[in-house]
Every structure is written in structure tokens, then in C-alpha cells.
Symmetry: C2
Subunit: 417 residues, 2 copies
């Protein structure tokens, strides 16, 4: 056989070997559990869409970074760039099949030809939760509560949901501190407050032609803003939903990058994880109706799945026993294979994840090494002595301790919890 | 808002609304459970690969149907076409990180620009299980046993694994019934035996220039072939692994389309599902080493995930209570909202999937209709009488029966099993 093509992956694309894939599955399963506890249902949309569905929906940057091409039928197609535009399409396309409010979650990969860097990939998983068709503040509270519960389910201890409302910024216009048309640029600077600091934001505002006094006034006005009546009501609802006020706070300088938010906005920050927010969301009442041709209110949030996994890794929040295989049954030799299979059956029938070493001709040493490499916590050895007395020897691969028990006692050793 | 772009999906691509998405999740979760019970671990590979990794690996058809394009960096890329070639790449790329034998499963979508028809889509999920690096017959037995257990876990009652071995066909050459070089064409005809029948196969063999007597002899030789010693041993192993012989049989005319199999081959047929085999597999010892530049033995199988879901649908194998949300807590009016939230919290804290109707201003009738549309089995109503006496009224949406109980008794009503 000729070795000619180098085995490699594209920049920004990743393989997940079992140890990583297991972590990702753990997070996905935990999140689904909480999402469903809150009454949200799964939705899946295709990887490829007609380009016209996605084009122009994500601003200039989106149009630049989107993966698109002509398919074999000369159709212009594009790969999923986010899960919100497909949601808008689905809501319009199946209007008669979807009861409103539509509470759906969606956990699928998206593709962006961005410059890969720490925590940023060209293929990455998004994890969206939205309530479509409700303008009730209760919905805003429900999605924030769900974000908190999700993080708690994943064992994050210290985190904060920073909450603001886009409406607050209209005060800057009302007070004559900026013109309506300049507001987006002003907000873009304020959005960097945490990243670049107060001084640099003031300087940026200066570059927009805002005189010195007014720059200060803009920041101070926001910083001294008191929670509105709507906030008070939102916080009341959160409290009623059992969410401790330790986990959220009013943050009047929070902007959130995306322009499409119309009301509540929030961002999730995990203490001890500095690579950025692990997620965020808000109310966006003018977006979901884009294909339906009418206004459809919506509120939701998304976790940056890869950041969430990275944060859990750094904070050591993954369970220690994330193994899939609990027991390796070794094979002493070809003659004693039957006994090993018998023990294998006993464990599998009890629901214990068990594998048998595939090659009876291999030495015991090699079989034990295999268990070590795969981090299988228990190994069972059944030699001639064991066979004669209907016993098995169990070796704890961590402590290297061994004990010999009868086959009958075996299932109780590894009852699945 | 202007309604201009028609909300639609590409031919051969599908949305999965919650009721369908739940079924798919159910199947995936059940399969993962069995795969892990058998000691297999998850692997994920990227959607896009360098085109050179995939090109030329799937024959002419594959090169024609593969989705490929130039990315923004002018790299030739291709979308995942199957999960075997990526597995071969992974095995070569991470040789030092992967303990052998490598037992992995992979459940991801693949893309083929095929002509869409019943049960055939351009985006569909494959579900692969393979043991790489073992040439032991025990591995062949393990993957067949796993296929049987998977189908049993999904509640399929009557199905058969047809088993053959590619080696058997060399008998045709040895006996002088066909030349070595003609064997692939002869096998391609025999492969159609079940589809087009005996007469048509004989006619096809005639077109290959094989004289009448020999055509019959070819079929008869295969049909009268007795299981070899290896088969006897394989069937023994299956029996020891607890697999009832009802579920498999020797079938000497089974060919399997793909050329790359080198030993055991098998195909899974479900009684009552006529659209074709729901999966199959076999031993392929010359494929996985293609990037590593050495021979690496392998054996495995794949379920056609969409067919599996379709077969389960047709045979009504999905659990009746596949709902995600179990209870809808209605809101009598804005004043009584707090009580509804209180009940909501009680149920969620007990792990019961519960949602609250988001808009307290809506009439009870509309709230009940919502539960009906979403097939939520239980609705809780808390009116002024209930609030006064700390009671809740539970409505069974199927039987339309109602009962009123105290809030304290509530959790026992919906304990999650």
C-alpha cells in the first residue's frame, strides 16, 4: 500500500476523539435534560439552505464569512451560519403546524470562515433556546431562569447573568446626549467597556466627534440609570421562579453586539473563565417574522457550546467517571475464552458497560495496558484457578488492588447508578 | 415588513419539527446506550475535509455525488460522504493516541447529491460501529451481536441477519465456473437475486457471455454451499454471546454491494418493512490502512438511520409517551399568576417536564387548545377556588377527566419514571 495523501484536517475544523466526544455528549445531554424540564422541544434544520434564505441576514461580516457554493444542480446554496434565521424560515414555512408560542431548542453545528483562534473555530456547535410568539415578560424571565438552571446543572458555582434592556439607550437620545442616527456607533463603543476600559471608550467616543463633557455624561447617565418598572417586574418574576438574585444583576452599560435586539438583553459570565461570555441572549421582536411578512415577537438565548466545554474543562467540572466502558473482561487464553464470554454476558445483562479483549492470543500484559490506555476502571481476569472454582479476579486499575469473588457476587460489584 | 423570499428547503434536505426530532433523538439515545454497553466509544469528525482525503475513495459514483467546492482560501474541500474514510484518516492521524483495537461509533449526517426518492435523501444520518485493529473472529461475532441487541433495544421483534463470507466466492473461480477477473461482474448480478428474482439473474449472467449450463451451476453451487468451519465457529460465538439463532442465518448468495469487504458480510432485514435492508456490514481488512500505509484489519456495520426510523414508524415501535413536556400549568389571570408559578416550581423541582402558559392575558380555552396541539398529556388549572383552598385541578387531556387535589399531593401524581 502506498502512503501518499497526508492525513490532516482543515484549519478551524476538529476531530473529537472519544475522550473529548464524551465530554461534549455529557454537556449536550445535561442541557437537553434542563431544556426539556422547562418545556422546550427539539428542532433540526438542514445543513444547506438556499443561499437567498441566509444572504444579507447577518450584515457584511456574515456575507463575507458564510460558506457558500453552487451545488451540482447549479443552485446557490449556503451552509448554516446560525440557528435564528433557519428558525424564522421554519416558523413561516410550517405556520399551520407549529402551535404558538413555539418553545424550541436547537443544538447543531454552524460554519463561519472566520480566522481561527483560541475558542474560535470554523465549525462549531451552537445551542439555542427560544420562545417564539410571546411578548410576555414572563417569557423573558423563563429564558433567563433556564440559562441559570442550565449552568447549575453543569455544576458551575459562580456565574452572573448581566441584564439590560435596549430601551434604556433611547434615554441618551431623549436627553439630547446623542442623535438617534449616531446611537448605533455610540453603543458599539460602549459595548467595549469591559474589554478596553473606561478611558479607551471615552477616547473612541471622542473620535465620533462627541465633545469631552458629553462623552463623560453619556457614560455617567448610563451608569447611574436605575432599573425601570419593567426591570423590577422581571426581577420579581425571576425570584418567583426560584432564581437566587446572586446569579443576576442589572447592568446598564451592557450593549450586546447584535443589532437585532429590541428589549431585554443579557450576557452570561462565569467567574474564573476569562476567554469571554459563555452565552447570552435577549428579546428580538422584529426578526423572526422576516419570512412570514408580519411581526412575531421572540426571546431566547444561546450558549457558546465550545466555550462552555472549555470553561468546564478549566474549572474541572466534568465528572471524574466519564468513562463509557466500566469493565474490560480479559481472555486468559483461547481455551478459557468461553468463561470470559460468560462473565461478559452477566455484566452486560445487568446493564454494566463491558467489553471483552478481542484477541485471545495476546498476553495478559498487553490486555491490561489496553485497559490503562482506554482508562477503563476495572479489569476482570479469569485464569485456570478462577475457572475451576467459578471465581473471577477484579483488578481496580487506579489503585492496582485486586480481589477474587464468585461469579454470583459479580453483578453487585458494578451496579449502574 | 416585505414578504419577498419564499421560505423553502432544498430538495432532499429536511427540517425535523419537534414530533419528528423527538423520534430521532429517541433512536439515537437508545443506540448509544447499547453501543456503550458493548464498550464502543463516540468519535466525531468534521463536516468538511480536504477534497483529496475523500476523492477517489468511493468509486465513480461517489466522485459524482460528493458535495465539493472551493472554500474562501481557495482550498478544495468536500462534505462528509461516509464515516469510514474519515475513520481511516483518524486512525492514521492520531496513531499514537488511539489504543488498538479501536472500538468506535459515529452518528453524524453525510451528504450525497443523489436523486431523492422514498427513503433516500441528500442529507441523511449514518450510524457506524466498527472495531479497528482486530482480525479476531470474536470481533465479527461482537458486531453482529451488537446489531441484534440494538434492534431488540428498539423493540423490533422479527428480523434476520443474513450472513455470508466473501471468501466463499473464490470457490466459483476454483471450480472453473468463472474467471477471477469476471467475478466482480458475476457477483453484481447475484447481488440482485432478491430484488429481480432467479430468472432475471440467470438472464443477466447470460449477457456476460456465460453459457446456459454454467449459469445454473453458478447459482446452484452457491445455494448448496455449506457453512465453512469459520462459519461454524462464528455461529458458536454468537450463541455464546447469547444471540438466539432465530435472528441470523447463513445466506451463501448474499453479496453486499461494496467491493471493499474481505471476509464476513451481513445484512439486516426487518420483517414487515419492505423498503430494503435497514443496515449491514462486514469485515474489510484492506481499507482502514489507506492513509497509514499499512494493513489494518477492521470489522463493523452501519444502520441506515432514516430507514430505521421509518421502519419503527411503520411498525409502530415508538413509545406512545414520547412527549417531552408532561404538564402545562395554565394561568387563570394575571392576579393568580404567582400561584401558577409556585406550582410550576414544585413540579420542575421534582424533575417533571413542565411548562407554564406564557401569556396570562389569554383565555383558558386558548391555553387548553395549546396543550392539545402540543399533545401535552396533563393540564393544571388553578382558579380562585383552588387558590383559596391550596388546591389544583388536573385535567387529563386524553380522557378529558378532571380531578382536584391538594398542592402537597401534586408531585406524586407525575413522578418521573
Amino acid at each position: 500500500m502506498k502512503k501518499s495523501i497526508e492525513p490532516r484536517t482543515l484549519k478551524g475544523f476538529r476531530d473529537f476523539l472519544p475522550s473529548e466526544a464524551k465530554k461534549r455528549q455529557y454537556v449536550i445531554n445535561a442541557l437537553k435534560e434542563v431544556f426539556e424540564l422547562y418545556g422546550f422541544e427539539p428542532l433540526e434544520t438542514p445543513t444547506l439552505e438556499y443561499e437567498e434564505i441566509l444572504a444579507g441576514k447577518y450584515g457584511e461580516e456574515g456575507d463575507k464569512l458564510m460558506y457558500r457554493f453552487k451545488d451540482l444542480g447549479e443552485r446557490n446554496v449556503a451552509m448554516r451560519y446560525d440557528q435564528t434565521v433557519p428558525l424564522a424560515r421554519v416558523v413561516a414555512q410550517y405556520a399551520n403546524l407549529i402551535p404558538m408560542p413555539f418553545k424550541r431548542y436547537q443544538i447543531q453545528p454552524v460554519w463561519r470562515a472566520d480566522n481561527p483562534q483560541r475558542g474560535r473555530f470554523r465549525e462549531f456547535v451552537q445551542c439555542d433556546v427560544d420562545i417564539v410568539g410571546s411578548d410576555s415578560l414572563l417569557s423573558d424571565a423563563e429564558v433567563i431562569a433556564l440559562a441559570v438552571r442550565s449552568l447549575q446543572r453543569l455544576k458551575f458555582g459562580k456565574f452572573k447573568i448581566l441584564i439590560n434592556n435596549r430601551q434604556i439607550f433611547s434615554e441618551l437620545v431623549k436627553k439630547g446626549l446623542t442623535a438617534e442616527k449616531d446611537l448605533p456607533l455610540v453603543l458599539r463603543s460602549i459595548d467595549k467597556l469591559e474589554k478596553i476600559g473606561r478611558e479607551d471608550v471615552l477616547e473612541e467616543l471622542g473620535k465620533l466627534g462627541i465633545e469631552k463633557e458629553r462623552r463623560n455624561l453619556i457614560l455617567e447617565t448610563l451608569e447611574n440609570m436605575l432599573p425601570s418598572e419593567e426591570f423590577t417586574r422581571l426581577f420579581e418574576l425571576l425570584k418567583k421562579l426560584g432564581i437566587d438574585s446572586f446569579f443576576y444583576e442589572f447592568n446598564p452599560t451592557l450593549v450586546r453586539g447584535l443589532d437585532y435586539y429590541t428589549g431585554t438583553i443579557f450576557e452570561i459570565q462565569v467567574e474564573g473563565y476569562t476567554a469571554g461570555s459563555v452565552g447570552g441572549g435577549g428579546r428580538y421582536d422584529n426578526l423572526i417574522g422576516m419570512f412570514a411578512g408580519r411581526q412575531i415577537p421572540a426571546v431566547g438565548f444561546a450558549f457558546g457550546f465550545d466555550r462552555l466545554v472549555e470553561a468546564m474543562d478549566e474549572l474541572k467540572l466534568f465528572p471524574k467517571d466519564l468513562e463509557t466502558t466500566k469493565v474490560l473482561v480479559t481472555v486468559f487464553n483461547e481455551k478459557l475464552l468461553d468463561k470470559s464470554i460468560e462473565v461478559l454476558n452477566v455484566l452486560r445483562n445487568k446493564g454494566v458497560n463491558t467489553e471483552i479483549y478481542d484477541d485471545p492470543a495476546q498476553k495478559m500484559e498487553k490486555q491490561l495496558k489496553y485497559a490503562d490506555q482506554k482508562r477503563i476502571p476495572y479489569v476482570i481476569v479469569i485464569g485456570p484457578d478462577e475457572v475451576e472454582n467459578n471465581l473471577v479476579t477484579i483488578r481496580d486499575m487506579k489503585t492496582r488492588e485486586q480481589k477474587t469473588i464468585s461469579v454470583k457476587e459479580l453483578p453487585n460489584e458494578f451496579i449502574k447508578n
